[in-house]
């Protein structure tokens, strides 16, 4: 499978480990990524007060993708939302299309745009991916965190249930890791308020950690660089602000399945995460003993009754 690739600004900066692990996992899954030429920022959520500008900036990337003749894959939930929305507007809103075609001097026909998770679980298929796994990740007790734009609004993101998505849960389970039920899976991390209302952003993110820790998770798995920025990048700041210890590794889903594929930690850039993942990786395969003990205890309790 050959796909056009739009990394977006963060994957060439703060989310470089998402870029590296995306490339590594795609290569191992037989996906050939062709990065689109001279792409630009999609406007993120900072252009929300100017919808046409936001979609216009995004549309330029769609023109670039169109030239490749390939479908477009995007690992960032915000970019994927923006470029998909721009594609729809370019097809349905004639006045808008006229403006952007005039600005760029080209005709727009449309591009098929998908989030990387959608490609992995639906186009390649969770089962086919798990066929590439060479080691079980038993010992990892993850929660799947989808955040906002990966699954909603459902008029833009159509591949999973917007209220209770399961695609990432199922992918995590296919590695042999546990994936615990997580009621906060689509709650907002407050990423967009990080600069302007940091105290609120930190309260929102801390709520996610509170539940993840309470249910016994030892890592959070994400599919968005903005979520990762809050959960991983800002974790020590949140610990400071709330005078608490969180110590929770946050992996991109590509890093997790890369581990199951037996890819190297260097290749997956696990050393680039701000919260060290070494203890988590050390726990892989070590859980079995504890489980046997726990099961023994439970049986003992039953017998006593």
């Amino acid at each position: 499978m050959k796909l056009a690739y739009y990394p977006g600004c963060t994957l060439h900066g703060t989310a470089r480990e998402y870029d590296a692990s995306t490339k590594a996992v795609c290569k191992a899954s037989g996906i050939d990524l062709v990065e689109i030429e001279d792409w630009n920022c999609c406007g993120a959520l900072e252009a929300i007060f100017d919808k046409e500008l936001s979609m216009g900036l995004s549309a330029r990337n769609n023109f670039k993708a169109q030239k490749t003749g390939l479908d477009l894959v995007i690992p960032c939930s915000i970019c994927s939302h923006n470029l998909s929305r721009a594609d729809t507007a370019m097809k349905k809103d004639e006045a808008f299309r006229t403006k952007i075609e005039r600005a760029l001097g080209e005709k727009y026909n449309g591009v098929k745009i998908k989030h990387l998770l959608d490609v992995m679980v639906n186009d390649i298929g969770t089962e086919a991916i798990s066929g590439k796994f060479t080691r079980s990740l038993k010992g990892i007790k993850a929660v799947a965190y989808y955040g906002c734009l990966l699954v909603r609004p459902s008029e833009v993101s159509k591949f999973d249930n917007p209220e209770n998505p399961m695609s990432l849960d199922n992918l995590i389970r296919s590695t042999g890791a546990d994936c615990l039920p997580f009621t906060q899976k689509t709650k907002c991390c407050g990423g967009n308020l990080l600069m302007s209302k940091q105290d609120y952003a930190f309260i929102l993110t801390k709520k996610l950690f509170d539940e993840a820790k309470a249910i016994g998770a030892n890592c959070i798995v994400v599919a968005c660089p903005m979520c990762h920025m809050l959960l991983d990048g800002q974790q020590t700041m949140i610990e400071k602000a709330h005078n608490t210890v969180i110590d929770m590794p946050v992996l991109y889903f590509t890093q997790l399945i890369g581990l199951a594929m037996g890819l190297g930690e260097k290749e997956l850039e696990l050393d680039k995460n701000m919260v060290p993942a070494s203890k988590l990786i050390g726990s892989i395969g070590k859980e079995a003993k504890v489980e046997v003990k726990a099961a023994g205890k439970a049986q003992g309790a039953e017998a006593a009754e």
Binding site: C41, L53, P162, L193, L204
Partner: protein, 189 residues
């Protein structure tokens, strides 16, 4: 108290004309947006239902100068759940656009820092084609927290830099003239 003599019945049409604000008049004030809002959960002063109701009544000045309007985290929960397809997240965006124009014209004052960050971000995209993280964040910190506040962020910036995650200089794309033309076209309205 609401004084009907001070209401601006055209405010709702003004919002509906703004891209993203088109569906505001479909709102029947069911409160679905507000009960699911993660920000309302931690601060009741942010109440999307009230913002919409006030806007529909024509409480123009009150809505445009309401600081809580800038608390929306653009999480799209209300957008997803709204039974009337009001597209609330984008209606808030439309109201923000009007508020920024009013502030530029000196008619209202915006106390919140959100538009400052958004505009620094967009300006950096306008000149480079990509967002200039170090420059935008640094300028924002300096403007809002002063030198002391900005220095507080230095350790994190340094760590990001050491990990190869932060570039000191902006990345410029080749097609900045195309970006400029997109800005010009959408500014025409």
């Amino acid at each position: 108290m609401i004084k009907s003599s001070e209401l601006d019945p055209n405010f709702k049409y003004e919002i509906a004309k703004e891209p993203g604000g088109e569906n505001i008049m479909k709102c029947f004030n069911c409160t679905g947006c507000t009960v699911g809002c993660p920000v309302t959960e931690i601060d009741k002063s942010y109440n999307p239902r009230k913002i919409l109701r006030k806007a529909l009544l024509g409480m123009r000045k009150e809505v445009l100068s309401d600081d809580s309007m800038w608390y929306c985290a653009s999480c799209y929960i209300c957008f997803e759940r709204c039974p009337q397809d009001v597209k609330i997240t984008e209606v808030i965006g439309a109201i923000r656009a009007i508020a920024q124009r009013e502030a530029k014209a000196g008619k209202i004052k915006i106390g919140n820092n959100k538009p400052l960050f958004d505009n620094l971000f967009i300006d950096s995209v306008k000149s480079n084609g990509k967002w200039y993280e170090a420059g935008v964040s640094g300028t924002f910190m300096l403007k809002t927290k002063g030198i002391g506040g900005a220095i507080g962020y230095a350790p994190m910036g340094l760590e990001l830099f050491k990990k190869g995650k932060l570039s000191i200089l902006p990345h410029k794309i080749k097609g900045t003239n195309e970006i400029k033309r997109i800005f010009e076209e959408v500014e025409k309205k």
